[in-house]
Amino acid sequence: MAFSLLLAACAAPPPARQPAAREIIIFAAASLRDAFNEIGGRFEQTTSSARVRFNFAGSQQLAEQIKQGAPADVFASANARQMNNVISSGRVTSGTQQIFVQNRLVVVVAQNASSVQSLADLAQPGAKIVLAERAVPAGQYALEFLQKASNTAEFGRTFSQTVLANVVSYEEDVRAVFSKVALGEADAGIVYTSDVVAGKDNAVRTIAIPDDLNTLAAYPIAALNDSENAALAKQFIDFVLDKEGQAILARYGFIPVKP
């Protein structure tokens, strides 16, 4: 008896979403955390009965979760690769993704690490560098920067190799890189300019990466095609691409695509 009850309880369909409060779940790159939290708040204020829930993590982790069937309505990735990863799983239709913001890399240096004053100093023996994991967009972009620098006479061919030998940890997302530097545990790390604005504190110094070596990271956003609230998901994406959404992103150090 109890067993059949238990089975019945297991088999019962999940309770239907309350029509009164429509809810969408946004999977967004870790670098978007602060900007999207604010956008989400504004969206809820301006859209009646809308609830927005966020899952922030490294884009590669989010892509994997979506591929494994995690419930989500919108995916905002920090690079095309992880968006394509999801497209190949069939949950996002190719061509529906739109670039909504851009970001640039910057080197952050801990206040107590006086030995790192320039980009070239990243190759100094003993400098403790943290990067994001290769699968993380920021990690991939950082490797690209090091490679580009190695192809210039200014830095020399061994630059990338020497810097990589100084890496003490590959972190799971770009925010973890920033935290380790801000805590002073690592001397320097490579993050997005938006992370520094988000960090807000004076725990780090920054060293700019010149345009010719930098990568303009383009963030694609798309609604999942099995979304139960497709209309609301589309509304959220429109909000992000609209004036107010873009202004909020700009305030958090991102480069808006619609200035």
């Binding site: 109890a2 067993f3 238990l6 490294g58 590669q60 982790q61 994997e64 107590n112 403790k128 943290v130 994991e133 290769r134 699968a135 890496v167 003490v168 940890s169 590959y170 972190e171 799971e172 380790k180 805590l183 002073g184 545990e185 690592a186």
Partner: protein, 279 residues
Amino acid sequence: MTATQSIQSESPRKGRTPATRIGGGARALLLLLSSLLLLLVLLPLIAIATRALPILPDALAAQDARAAMQLTLITSGIALAIIVLLGTPAAWLIARRQVRGWRVIDALLDLPVVLPPSVAGIGLLMAFGRRGLIGSILLPFGIELAFTTAAVVIAQVFVAAPLYIRAAVIGLRRIDDDMESVAMVEGASQWQVFRHVTLPLSATAMLTGSMLAWARALGEFGATILFAGNLVGRTQTMALAIYMNFQSDPEAALALALILVLISFAVLVLVRLLARIES
């Protein structure tokens, strides 16, 4: 914890017939309910095994996977040695109530077991990081712990030591005080008493505890990733490699997961066997 508790409760009851008899129907119901739970526990492990077995040889040939296994075995081995070396005296003091406030120490020692790993990791950073309580004192001497293999060991000791101490305390408390007193009266020195009476009588409990602690150290994840970071060959243990690979190379993650399951299971079986030998 469960295993140490079971040692405590199992041994005196061994060989007794069940105290209460229940009817066939009730028994079937209990069986059914418990098999549901058993299924929940076993299914993920079975799923890992079925998916990982065919790809195991290839995945294990990968250099990063080998580095992770090697690092995990070495660091957990060192952690275990430290735990036994420092934990045995601690267990003895607690068991013999030799220190003031032993109850408080006793309770504090359990804290790492119940704390979330993220708290452990942040705590270790705040203590041993460059700006940490101890870390900032060590820095001028050129000693930095964060992001090193030593940090991996420290994290493992932190989370696993209580398991050993708890088991050892229980083992030591079960030894009849008289036995030690008699040996003392016969003229044995304190060290001789410990070496020839106390240690042999509590050896199984200590062995059980050290196996549990080792298993815990093998699987340590959260404190390691925060405090020691993630670098292949230096700080990337199996648990970290599984997590990181899951995002880029799920097959490698599966294979390592299976290995970790097998090792941990072997350790737990060993613990049961030891407990049985003792009783």
